[in-house]
Amino acid sequence: MNALLLRDMRLAMRAGGGFGLSLAFFLIVVVLVPFGVGPEMGLLSKIAPGILWVGALLACLLSLDRIFALDFEDGTLDLLATAPLPIEAVVSVKSLAHWITTGLPLVLVAPLLGVLLGLQSDAFYWIVLSLLLGTPGLSVIGTFGAALTVGLKRGGLLLSLLVLPLYVPTLIFGAELARRGIAGMDVGTPMSLLLGITFACIALLPFASAAVLKINLR
């Protein structure tokens, strides 16, 4: 399992691996917003948590189709399915690798981009915390979507259509957690719901992903 994790991370870092693509996309989305809504700092800092969350979600979506598509095209997926690793473990490791190469960097650069949106420094804590708790769920849900669409030619758009609605709960409670935290309100409810969604996804979805992957490999 370690070998698979290391290999996936190494592939993501090498040329053409797509690492940095999501980050650059996130940066551009966030930079574009002030052009769209105007440079009024009061308004921008008010909508900043929502923008950062939507931006992170879209950036995460960009790299989802790489999770299985490349391994499917070159036959690696068939070989992994006959390897001693259970497919559930393969799926979980690939989610983890996706989070480390996409979700985690997004979490880490979010405060920097928050500066562009006029966020106060005490708000950074809540942005980072909410993204840190929410993005693992995004990677796991995305892996499920990628497993559903593996083997389809140009399944990228279908993947987005399938996955984006499933991201809605995470987005609602993640952005709400950040907003309430920044406003100094009680964060118990959105935090427990966000954690609940993330942990439920991590616990249950790998089995669903493995099942659809087995069907798609036939």
């Binding site: 290999r7 592939l11 090498r14 070159d74 036959g75 070989l79 006959t82 390897a83």
Partner: protein, 206 residues
């Protein structure tokens, strides 16, 4: 250790291809599968490997004994030959890739990225992977495609060595690998399923 296939029927996309396939391979033996294109050789091998569900019949072999190799070699173009092989070695829990490299004479290619290899070199790397898995039953689908005559000879030697160590192989191929008496040939045409038999997929989720 034996691989026993009895009364096996295989399906491809709910089309019935072969029925009543039966054979037995024991340690140190190879089985060569023959038959015209589209008969179901690939599907049969995938079914034995566990990638396709069994429609009818049985495949009996020890757990986690088989390794499958087909047209696609699973080579990552941005990883070097060494990294590709070491990845599979650690997935299968073995450690040495030296013997596999030496068998196919790839020492000079070891630090070259997978994407820079020719089709034949990729094939050699894909076949070398079999050796690092350490598994006794090899299921090979057209293994000699794009190999030159020297490499075909090396491949024949590799199979012979594998059989000498008590391994087994089921190979779909149309060329002679020079295995002599240790290889039996099975013509799959005799098991061709009647064309009108249609399978209705009612268990869509497993």
């Amino acid at each position: 250790m034996t691989l026993t296939v009895s009364n096996l029927s295989v399906l491809r996309a709910s089309r019935h291809l072969l029925s009543g396939v039966g054979f037995e391979v024991s340690a140190g033996q190879a089985l060569i599968l023959r038959g015209p294109n589209g008969l179901g050789k690939t599907t049969l091998l995938r079914t034995i490997a566990g990638l396709q569900p069994i429609y009818q019949g049985h495949v009996d072999m020890p757990e986690d004994a088989a390794v499958y190799a087909a047209h696609l070699d699973g080579i990552k173009s941005t990883l070097t030959v060494r990294e590709n092989l070491e990845f599979w070695a650690s997935v299968f829990g073995t450690d040495s890739i030296g013997a596999a490299i030496a068998t196919f004479d790839m020492e000079h290619l070891i630090d070259r990225p997978g994407g820079m290899l020719s089709a034949g070199q990729k094939r050699r790397l894909g076949l070398a992977r079999l050796m690092v898995t350490g598994r006794p039953i090899w299921l090979l689908d057209e293994p000699t495609v794009s190999l030159d005559t020297v490499a075909v000879g090396q491949f024949g030697d590799m199979i012979a060595g594998h059989l000498d160590r008590g391994g087994m192989a089921v190979i779909a191929t149309h060329i002679d690998l020079g295995l002599g008496a240790r290889a039996e040939t099975l013509d799959l045409s005799q098991f061709k399923a009647a064309p009108e038999q249609k399978y209705n997929p009612n268990e869509a989720f497993l």
